[in-house]
Assembly symmetry: C2
Homo-oligomer: 774 residues x 2
């Protein structure tokens, strides 16, 4: 862990150039707009260590599954997040010497990710051979308003010499994935053309035939005026480029504007790609860089209006929470219901696939509260659309009915291949069911159930019905051979969380069926027909609910993570000598599996999801038992522990957990940020503030708040969208205020006291006061 970034409330700032942190910075300073994204690679050539990454949402590569020994049921492919055409590249040559920060000395380097307005800038002075000094200022963004558009302004000023400067903006499709086996390349060229002032390039993937067309236009100015430049252009395999050469005296600035439009066959017919790209490019060029940049600031202001969190008295925490919100908004905009939220977003390629249960467990709550309800709904519909693939996946594993959603997917097909995860980490099915409950509970959109939700619930219930089996020995239903959320145990029996979420799914499905029968009898009848749902099935579900086995330790009064948990040696993490941590870097897999150490919340995940069904004492006993055994080596772990600790009044533990989640990437806490940022866990950080410190829940249609403020903070405030209203919650010491920024009325309960909030009104209360009024 190395802290090298400056603290600033609205920006991430790096104020010196260090090749050893370049790949980390490339991840952190990534830009994206939900449609495409780009790591913070340099525009000019850089021969130092770098992970080049340009990503188009939804474009992936089904690479051959790589395993030692094949097991029946494995998926045919591993979906790689695909590095696509490098569209940011601008070679810069000064009097014949290429500019390369690995080969010159660099001064006054500042890189800034401006989160308020959504752009990345970089400025530095390079000292070339012979002491020639050069000032460079570059700024770029991917447009939120015009998603295919990326724009770059790249300005070079000789400081102490006059010289000839050549800019070569290019589109380069001859790129690789870092995770390619044996350095394979995944793209073929379809067509290309270079011409004066621009060019285009269309590639297609070697499998699945995704087409991506990138079109670029560029122009050169000197001191903000058009300049006559020597111009050429060139083509080679998967590459188009233009070159502009002009002279600049000391103090004169040559500025290259590069505009790019990237379009894909996901949105256009193959014959329309070039035209679509060039049309959008032309519009962007005509409007010009300043207009585009102004639009960008406006678009981000809109986003912040809905999702900002303000923390006073702790600038590092302020910066961190904004960084997390910013990256989430860069990753997923919710407009395209075929997309989802990859674990690295547009900041890296690791892990592959785009969709994990992270979406349901962590991201849905974020989007529910910070955006229009349609956004979270689209995340749910994404799974609804994959229902058929999930059925096929269950069949593949030998189930005669029901659906098993994949552990990792791009299009609904499973593309993960460790048996203990792919086949066994089936609790993901429960999270998908839970997200339906969570969405409906939050939004009150009960129509969703009849329209989409119930089909998914029934098919998941059918899976649980078969996956549970009768143990004659126990006289109960058991679920054998699973991996729970704690992936530091594999292939265990009766993981409490899995058994519980399975039975809960059955309960909820039955409840929704009953409700629908009354509220929408026609739709109910139709669904019964479509799903061929039998009364016998419901009887079995009831039997499973009544007779599910839940491992429990009478002595401690805690749910057992799995049947064999108490056979382990239970030594708290804080009694381990520090050199063992993190376990995943210091212990063999064997030792980890046999140990009691927990990677992320497992029993506690259940007590979080189903928090309304368990009393504080139960939560306390389980938290007290499991948290000391938890190593939080998943980025998804600390946030849940923060939320539970807040609920239990464990203030110090809550703040400790918050620190571990909020600056995970900014401080490179897990020493792996160079691979990309931990996007989905960023939603967990947001949850820490809103559900943890804010104590936000939704109960019986009421927004419930039980805030507590960490000692170090002066105040904090957050926005939540709730049933059409946008509420700004502010917590300062004991005082809580809620401002309804919209005309839609809302009901809130603060420290137990209920308030009606008319449109554009606000309420204030203090903890002591509210509690006295309950």
């Amino acid at each position: 862990m190395k802290q090298y970034l400056q603290v600033d409330e609205w920006s991430i700032i790096e104020d010196s150039f260090d090749p050893s942190t370049q790949e980390i910075s490339e991840s952190i300073f990534s830009i994206g707009n939900g449609y495409m994204g780009q790591r913070a690679n340099f525009e000019e050539r850089y021969s130092g260590r770098s992970l080049q990454g340009s990503y188009m949402a939804g474009v992936y590569y089904p690479d051959k599954t790589r395993v030692g020994w094949w097991k029946n049921g494995y998926p045919e492919y591993f979906a790689k997040v695909l590095n696509s055409t490098n569209w940011i590249g601008i070679d810069v040559v000064i009097d014949g010497e290429p500019l390369d920060l690995a080969n010159c000395s660099v001064k006054e380097f500042v890189r800034e990710l401006n989160m308020k307005e959504g752009w990345l800038s970089r400025r530095f002075t390079a000292v070339l051979d012979g002491g020639r000094e050069l000032r460079v200022e570059a700024i770029r963004f991917v447009s939120v308003k015009r998603q295919p558009i990326g724009a770059i302004r790249y300005a070079v000023t000789p400081l102490n010499f006059s010289g000839s400067i050549t800019f070569t903006p290019y589109l380069d499709g001859d790129i690789q994935n870092k995770d390619a086996n044996y350095e394979e390349k995944f793209w073929n060229e379809v067509e290309k053309q270079a011409y004066a002032s621009g060019g285009y390039l269309t590639l297609k993937t070697k499998k699945l035939d995704f087409h991506v067309t990138s079109a670029m236009a560029y122009r050169l100015e000197k001191d903000s005026q058009p300049v006559q430049a020597e111009s050429t252009f060139a083509e080679r395999e998967k590459y188009v480029a233009g070159s502009l050469t002009a002279a600049a005296a000391a103090g004169e600035t040559l500025t290259l504007y590069k505009y790019v439009a990237n379009v894909t066959s996901r949105n256009y017919g193959l014959g329309q790609l070039v035209e679509a790209a060039r049309d959008q490019l032309e519009e962007a060029v005509q409007d010009g860089f300043d207009v585009l940049k102004q639009e960008q600031a406006v678009a981000w202001a809109e986003k912040w209006k809905e999702s900002d969190i303000v923390i006073e008295g702790d600038p590092a925490a302020q910066q961190a929470i904004r960084f997390n919100i910013f990256q989430l908004n860069q990753t997923y905009s919710g407009e395209d219901d075929r997309l989802n939220i990859g674990p690295k977003g547009f900041t890296g390629e690791k892990y592959g696939g785009s969709t994990y249960w992270d979406t349901e467990a962590y991201c849905v709550p974020f989007y529910l509260s910070t955006a229009d309800a349609s956004i979270a709904r689209n995340l749910l519909i994404y799974r609804y659309k994959h229902l058929q693939k999930a059925r096929e996946n269950a069949r593949k594993l030998g189930f005669t009915k029901g659906a098993l959603y994949p552990m990792v997917t791009m299009n609904g097909e499973e593309c993960h291949n460790e048996w203990e995860i792919t086949f066994e980490e089936i609790h993901r099915n429960g999270a998908i069911a839970y997200a339906i409950y969570n969405y409906v509970n939050y939004t009150g959109d009960r129509a969703y159930l009849g329209q989409y939700g119930l089909e998914v619930l029934v098919e998941i219930s059918r899976f649980w019905e078969q996956r549970a089996s009768r143990s004659t020995a126990k006289g109960k239903y058991v679920i054998l051979g699973v991996t729970g959320p704690n992936e530091y145990e594999n292939n265990v029996n009766n993981n409490w969380y899995t058994n519980r979420i399975a039975a809960w799914t059955l309960e909820y499905t039955l409840e929704v069926l009953e409700e629908l029968e009354k509220s929408e009898p026609a739709r109910y009848a139709e669904l019964l027909e479509t799903l061929k749902l039998e009364n016998e099935e419901r009887a079995v579900w009831k039997d499973i609910i009544a007779n599910m086995y839940y491992p429990y330790d009478e002595e401690r009064g805690v749910f057992l993570q799995q049947d064999g948990f108490l056979d382990k040696e239970l030594i708290p993490v804080n009694e381990l000598s520090p050199e063992h941590l993190p376990l995943n870097q210091n212990w063999s897999w064997d030792r980890i599996l046999r140990s009691c150490y927990i990677k992320q919340a497992d029993v506690l995940q259940g007590l979080y999801f189903l928090g309304h069904l368990y009393d504080l004492d139960t939560k306390k006993r389980n938290f007290d038992f499991y948290e000391p055994l938890t190593v939080h080596e998943s980025s998804l772990s600390p946030c849940l522990h923060n939320i539970l600790a807040c609920e239990l009044g464990y203030k110090e533990k809550a703040y400790e957990m918050y620190l571990r989640t909020s600056r995970l990437d900014l401080d490179n806490y897990n020493n792996d940020t160079e691979d990309g940022c931990h996007i989905t866990s960023m939603a967990g950080t947001w949850m820490s503030v809103v559900q943890g410190f804010g104590g936000l829940r939704v109960m019986q249609g009421e927004l419930v708040l039980n805030p507590f403020i960490p000692e170090h903070w002066h105040s904090f405030s957050f926005k939540v969208m709730f049933r059409g209203a946008r509420l700004k919650v502010n917590v300062q010491g004991e005082t809580v205020s809620v401002v309804n920024e919209t005309e839609t009325p809302a009901a809130v309960r603060i420290y137990g006291q209920s308030f009606k909030l008319d449109g554009l009104s606000e309420v204030h209360t203090r903890k002591s006061e509210a509690e006295a009024n309950v």
Copy 2:
């Protein structure tokens, strides 16, 4: 399963050419001499499906471990059995037309593997373009007496035309492994030379620098007389060849003799390889094909004298058992204690590595009984030599002392990479300890213990000491997270077999220590010093022995395969609909793991190894419980069940199990013989006859026999080496005779009655008679 081979007592015969079974035949008709081996690929080019395989014992390739997701503790490499220089190749061209059995019609095809004399022959008539018919007779062997030498006689007779025939014998090192990832090649050329009448080629592996030199010589005869031939020779990258062209009239036979010597840097210095190969080649050429072939017959007669089994009244069983003995003798000769017995021997490359616990559990008994005691001893010393690597392996997994032998190895290093096997199938350590007991019990060579055995036992005991942990919940020692012999369960707790063999190892180690203290006090003291063995350690071992947890079902009176076994749905295999079988081809891995079905003996493996410690009732209860749940999808399974069934008097079951093991490859029972033969399980087939039907055990230095003869058999007899004597046991109905073919006296107990057998004497008894005399 397709039965296409002819039944013959001493030969495997295929009497027609079928491209669809070519790869199966290539495996079955393989030849080897413990030093090198060769699949039954054709000498002439063959463009049909074929798995080319030439293997040099001990020469392997440490290929990069191929996994989806790396886990700490995985080995760096996967040891590939390495396909090396193709030395059998002879291109044949008739009047410009290449002979290729995939491109002509083939008549009167007969392939024979003569097991009595150790050679492979093939004869056929090929009908070429225009109806020209050609007779080919080819025979080859790898010399048992002169291990580097392979010899081929290849005769061509035009039947209905006269023509010019070109023979191009070659050495081709430009070969691949089928299991290469991305078609990599593993060899580089070192040097080569082609010259009139021969050539040589030296290759080295791209990693580890194994050098292999192949030298060839050839000559051509017409009707057994030297013939003047047009001769050329050629070299290209990794390839040398000569060409001889001569005319033959209809009915005239052109015969090419090709002699090859293959030597490796395992046996010679790098500078000596070419000379060594050429020297040995020259001797072979001078002695000539007929002498070499005669030597081969003599050498095999020697082997058969020690290991033959005769079954009268069941020719298919007779052929099968000889085939198994033949392949075992082809695979391992016991002369080189750096070698071991790969699962495919020299018949294929699958699985990689050369050494599994198969060696200790299955092969040691075979070699103990069919060869000089030094051979089995060398197999034990092999592990002794790997003790340091086994210690390192244990350290890598986090153990502070002790040794964990690898699951698969070439040189003592682990080279298998499934966590559930590599890290968890630790019972292999127990089999290695047991083999020491077994060897000493069989041979009476107690000196081995002080010399080598005890060090291994202590280090294995130390491993068990740490791998067992205290369960507070159970108040016992438990062993968590293991995979037992039944690989259809993974990562289970308290696998009975593992717990039992662990505790047994501790018991045996303590017993050996005690014995050695008395019998060899000086050596004892020295070992205590070397091993730094503490009294505290022995105390812990005793505590573990006394307090090991053994899962047990009181109701059924059976040992439980693992803690969770009774939570499974217990449905006997015979109630499964046949389309589910074999499970490993029809069920997902997930479904297999959660099922009760057993791949191979697990609890029963323990009752076999430790048969002297359990009564018949216990064995019966466990057999009756587990056998019906066993699918025998490991080739190592049926033999053990045969042995236990014989002991329990389950005659039909015993014979059923025998059929499943004995003709496994000849009848391609598991539908995978094209990958190679199941060499190690062949030892199990031998065990079925000798320990199963013969009931052979060694108790208190006495050879114990309790034969029973399957109904279908007229008689059967086998040879066993026992403490210097070679005994021929014959069973005919109720009558058992034992002939001591050597001068060394021996003690045998038949059906409970003890006999002293002087040198060159024999005893006869009948079951009823012997039992009456007890």
